[in-house]
Amino acid sequence: MKKIEAIIKPFKLDPVKEALTDAGITGMTVSEVKGYGRQKGHKEMYRGAEYNIDFNPKIKIELAVSDEQVDQMVAVIRGAANTEKIGDGKIFILPLEEVVRVRTGEKGENAL
């Protein structure tokens, strides 16, 4: 099993969620994060004084999938979140050692 962590632009959350649902994903965790890569921050102005916002708001989506699903889900996320501009985000794939369903205690791929 693998954990997919995708950092995407906030306005892409709905398209990515729908695309993943269409591809058969039944659950995910979403959090609001801040970050920067090559996009860097941006400038704002208040009463004539410029100031930098170093971190851009992003959305992090976390999924647990079986090994066979990884490539497909990565493609789905990329397809929905890509705008061909700097700041589109990154996808991280981590090994997932175990998954447990809280209600029943099921483990492994049955718990995905």
Binding site: M45, Y46, R47, G48, A49, Y51
Partner: protein
């Protein structure tokens, strides 16, 4: 058919009542038209003054909301407390000392020193005066007390986010009880500025320049917010609640109709009523023009339409026209407001560059534009030299006495919160409260 019945019925009732009235008064006493007119005028003018005073009191809400919106969320509770408490302190000090100092007569420079507010006019005295006593004495007090509170509230914005609450209120005692009444006596109490011919209809000098001078003295002794000026750069501390700031400005705009309109003090003659209407129109026009020019200048200069500058622009126009809102025509008044809107933006940037930290632009709105408004009076009334004299006298008196007061308070009570308190926010340190506890900020 129904119409006919209504018309005839009404006519019948009115005729009967008139006959009864005539029968009732005939032989009892003659109908005293003269006294009735005096009574009516007195009642109307007293009502007008009281309602105008209530509108000016509403400006306290305007200042409170404006300042609450322009400070950071960790400092909002203290500024709310300062605003509402200073209004209260002003009312008490002016009742005990200030009003009589200001209106109790004197030698021209030195006012008399008496206390409390004196007795109300008796009916007999009012009737005997034949119209020379136009409204209730207590109505005059109520109207004036709201003005002194306005002057004091100007200070709270300039010293925001780093001054101790109780030191601020101690200063309020002194300004409202003594500093303001003495310079107010010089102009509205019949003192030497009035005799000179200095014109300050509703208080660009007496109220706004006074507040700004006291604020400037305070800000110089207090110092800027920590981290505001670092390595030659000016750090922005964006306001926490711009909806409140906008609301506050609109409340002030409405309240200003009482501030300027009410300063005519009477509405019961045709000349007075016309003057009041002119005051309303000019006040409105100056505010509108100030807002527009400030917004435009902000767009050209910063390439952004800065709302906070626009709000300051409206207030700048209001302050400028306050010196004389009844003499200029509407076009000139609008022009005065427009110039004030440009002046205030330039002034805010310049004062910041001088490393004088004024979180809400109070010095620019009330000081710079107050001075401009007073000098601009000479475009339609009075003389430039007299106006300049008034400006210098009021500014010098208030600035120097305030500076002394602030310095004494610094030694006795301490002026500034500690660096750690300033960093985590004065609200928790001074009031033990957060303004937005569910949105606790990390800074």
């Amino acid at each position: 058919m129904k119409d006919q019945i209504w018309k005839r019925g009404t006519l019948g009732v009115v005729t009967t009542l008139a006959l009864l009235a005539m029968a009732g008064t005939a032989g009892a006493e003659e109908f005293d038209a003269h006294s009735s007119i005096i009574s009516l005028g007195y009642g109307l003018d007293t009502f007008y003054l009281l309602m105008s005073g209530a509108l000016v009191m509403w400006m306290a809400a305007g200042f409170t909301m404006l300042e609450a919106g322009l400070v950071r969320s960790k400092n909002v509770v203290v500024i709310l407390t300062k605003n509402i408490a200073l209004y209260s302190v002003a009312c008490i000090m002016y009742l005990l000392f200030g009003y009589q100092i200001m209106y109790g007569g004197g030698s021209g420079v030195l006012p008399g020193f008496s206390f409390f507010i004196g007795p109300e006019h008796t009916t007999a005295a009012v009737l005997a005066a034949g119209g020379d006593i136009p409204y209730a004495h207590l109505a005059d007090f109520f109207f004036q007390v709201c003005f002194v509170a306005t002057a004091m509230s100007i200070v709270s914005g300039a010293v925001a986010e780093r001054m101790k609450l109780w030191t601020f209120l101690a200063f309020a005692l002194v300004l409202c009880g003594f500093i303001y009444p003495i310079e107010g006596y010089w102009q509205w109490g019949g003192g030497f500025l009035k005799t000179l011919g200095f014109i300050d209809f509703a208080g660009s000098g007496v109220v706004h320049l006074c507040g700004a001078a006291a604020a400037l003295a305070g800000v110089l002794v207090l110092g800027p917010r920590t981290g505001k000026y670092k390595n030659g750069k000016i750090k922005a501390f964006p306001g926490s609640n711009l909806p409140l700031a906008a609301l506050g400005t609109l409340i002030l705009w409405v309240g200003w109709f009482g501030f300027n309109g009410g300063s005519q003090l009477k509405v019961s003659t045709i000349a007075d009523a016309n003057a009041v209407a002119m005051a309303f129109v000019n006040t409105n026009g100056a505010a509108a023009a100030g807002l527009v020019t400030a917004l435009l200048l902000s767009q050209f200069w910063f390439r952004k339409a800065d709302l906070t500058m626009a709000l300051n622009g409206a207030l700048a126009g209001l302050v400028a026209i306050t010196a004389e809102p009844t003499a200029p025509g509407p076009l000139l008044a609008t022009g005065i407001g427009a110039v004030a809107g440009v002046l205030v933006v330039v002034s805010i940037i310049t004062i910041d560059k001088l490393k004088i930290d004024d979180p809400v632009g109070a010095l620019s709105v009330h000081g710079v534009c107050g001075i401009f408004g007073l000098l601009a009076v000479s475009l339609s009334a009075g003389s430039f030299v007299d106006q300049l004299t008034g400006v210098v006298c009021i500014f010098a008196w208030v600035f120097i006495t305030s500076l002394i007061t602030w310095k004494i308070l610094k030694v006795v009570m301490g002026l500034r919160v500690s660096e750690e308190e300033e960093y985590s926010g004065v609200d928790v340190a001074e009031c033990g409260l957060e303004a937005y506890p569910e949105f606790s900020s990390d800074k």
